[in-house]
């Protein structure tokens, strides 16, 4: 019986150790991913010029096929400073059109490099929600974070490949100026004071991206002629890709449909 006890203790301990080892291995893998991303984020050379006379345009509509899930209700009663629409924005469907899909040129630009825009992208906190819910930004571009609420928020991005930070922003505080150095799709941002506040920042290395509006529409302009992979990314429905070839001054329509079963 003593042997049984010892055996049970050993099995239990080995079980725990093997699980912890597995966790460490996962962390190591993530660390090496970070290193790779850092190498990728090495400073690029001068931007490759694009001839505006040949620039093409890709636009389209993203549809949702099936019955849209009912938006989850948010309970904001924890903070009297939070007032506004109380529905979650995880899946926003209006007349079969899907909003908040990040559309970007995933592949086909080769070794081209692009200037980082000087204009900041604004992320606003209002009604204890993020506006917009999905944001696209170039690596290194400034994100200006504002708080228009009468309550304190904390902004906490939880990236895989970028640096994590967590800062509070009281009402009427000066906007925070932040940027993200490395490419990262669906980088979650949350507020730990208001746990329903979630949004996603998509950091890419080219300026060819857009987010679908409430009518599911998007538009990507200024694309040089070529063969591209366009990626459509949604926080709950995942990613779908399409190949497209654009000639000089072309205007292509690329629609995409996400099915309800993808959740």
């Amino acid at each position: 019986m003593k042997k049984t006890c010892l055996a049970m203790m050993t099995v239990s301990l080995l079980f725990a150790i093997s699980l912890l080892t597995a966790c460490n291995k996962k962390e190591n893998t993530e660390q090496s991913t970070n290193t790779t991303s850092e190498q990728q984020a090495a400073p690029a050379g001068a931007a490759t010029p694009i001839d505006p006379a040949t620039a093409a345009k890709v636009s389209g509509t993203v549809k949702f096929d099936g019955t849209a899930p009912k938006p989850a209700k948010i309970d904001m009663s924890q903070d009297p400073g939070c007032k506004g629409p109380n529905e979650a924005e995880a899946v926003v469907v209006d007349g079969g059109n899907l909003a908040n899909v990040f559309v970007y040129v995933k592949d086909g630009l080769g070794s081209r490099t692009f200037d980082v825009p000087h204009d900041a992208v604004v992320l606003d906190q209002s009604g204890c929600k993020y506006h917009p819910h999905v944001l696209g930004v170039m690596a290194g571009q400034t994100v200006e974070i504002k708080n228009d609420d009468p309550t304190t928020h904390n902004i906490h991005p939880t990236p895989k490949d970028n640096r994590e930070w967590n800062e509070s922003q009281p009402p009427q505080a000066a906007p925070l100026q932040k940027n993200f150095a490395r490419e990262e799709i669906l980088l979650p941002v949350k507020c730990n004071q208001h746990p329903w506040m979630k949004m996603y920042i998509n950091v890419v290395k080219n300026p060819f991206f857009a987010v679908t509006d409430k009518s599911g529409k998007y538009e990507i302009k200024g694309l040089p002629p070529g063969d591209y992979t366009i990626a459509f990314v949604h926080e709950k429905l995942g990613e779908q890709d399409q190949k497209v070839t654009v000639a000089a001054k072309d205007t292509k329509t690329v629609d995409q449909t996400f099915k309800a079963g993808g959740m």
Binding site: C5, M9, F15, Q78, A90, T151, N154, N166, Q193
Partner: protein, 331 residues
């Protein structure tokens, strides 16, 4: 203050009246009540900490050791801040109570090992505070957050056993001793119970802090149920006459049943129904916090049972007989 056996040794040659007076002096009611207060306060602290995790509020106050840059100002207690800051305030009081208890113990207590235990409690509460700070500054890394959760329950067990050792019953009772000849001995089973419960605590904490999946915790729950039931049934079937053993054994069995029910509820509300929730929902918060709290009570009860078994149901002397043969002077 000294254990009853030691008291009995010293009282040789003393009249019954003197012995009673000696015992009366040994038990310090104020000291014991303070120890009970610390244990109760620690239980409250555990619940406050569990509320922080369940409400995903661990980083709602982004700095440490200050709160929003201040050492003393209480921020507006809304949203996640109410959970995190209240947890910090309760923790500060717990630290202060531990320090007072250690000083008090050092001054009034004759048992050296108990004085050391009270000092160990201070060391543990300091380490726990540092882990809590690191978990904020490093953005809730699963390893540190889980260590913070596990050490919290370790500290709770220390506070409970200090309360036990300073209690009137522990000091005044003449232990009713029954030698345990069965194998594995009941004491071994109680140690095994603590071990599997501690593994279960760590697996649960790592899952709760997003370090691994839920299934290892659920699988180990089967092992825990088996070992604890075995221990409790052994204690109740053979030593039910000894109240100090019967009561924690009964409590352990009852808490195990409650804990399994709460674990099932926590699984449903968090894993099955709550994975797509827009925010932590009340049923999930209530069931997971209750699961943590009852888990802590279960661990502390197992520790108390082990101590009482060690005192009342020692392993039979025959175990040591071969050694005695080797060393005749030992007889």
């Amino acid at each position: 203050m000294q254990p009853a056996s030691s008291v009995a040794d010293k009282s040789e040659g003393m009249s019954e009246e003197h012995v009673l007076k000696f015992i009366a002096r040994s038990y310090n009611q104020g000291h014991h009540r303070f120890a009970v207060t610390l244990a109760s306060w620690t239980f409250l602290l555990l619940i406050a900490g569990a509320l922080v995790t369940s409400n995903d509020a661990g980083l709602s106050v982004p700095d440490w050791p200050t709160s929003f840059g201040s050492w003393y100002k209480i921020p507006k207690l809304v949203g996640g801040v109410q959970f995190e800051h209240i947890h910090r305030m309760i923790a500060q009081v717990a630290g202060l109570l531990t320090l007072i208890l250690a000083i008090w113990t050092w001054r009034v207590e004759k048992r050296r090992w108990l004085r050391i235990l009270a000092l160990a409690a201070v060391g543990t509460v300091i380490a726990q505070g540092i882990l809590g700070g690191l978990t904020v500054l490093l953005y809730l890394p699963p390893a540190i957050s889980s260590a913070h959760a596990a050490l919290a329950q370790t500290f709770f067990c220390i506070a409970v056993v200090i309360a036990l050792f300073t209690g009137r019953q522990w000091i005044e009772e003449q232990p009713r001793i029954e030698f345990d000849t069965r194998r594995p001995a009941l004491f071994t089973l109680t140690l095994l119970s603590i071990f599997v419960l501690y593994v279960q605590l760590m697996l649960g904490a790592i899952f709760r802090h997003h370090g691994m999946s839920w299934w290892p915790h659920v699988v180990n729950a089967v092992v825990v149920s088996f070992v604890l039931t075995w221990t409790a049934i052994r204690a109740l079937s053979l030593y039910a006459r000894i109240e100090a053993v019967r009561r924690p054994a009964m409590l352990m069995l009852s808490l195990l049943i409650a804990q399994l029910c709460l674990g099932f509820a926590a699984f449903l509300t968090r894993v099955a129904w709550g994975k797509d929730a827009a925010q932590p929902e009340l049923p999930m918060v209530v069931s997971t916090v209750a699961h943590v709290a009852v888990g802590a009570l279960l661990l502390a009860t197992a520790v108390v049972l082990a101590i009482q078994v060690w005192r009342h149901v020692p392993v039979a002397f025959e175990e040591r007989l071969p050694q005695a043969h080797q060393d005749p002077s030992a007889a």
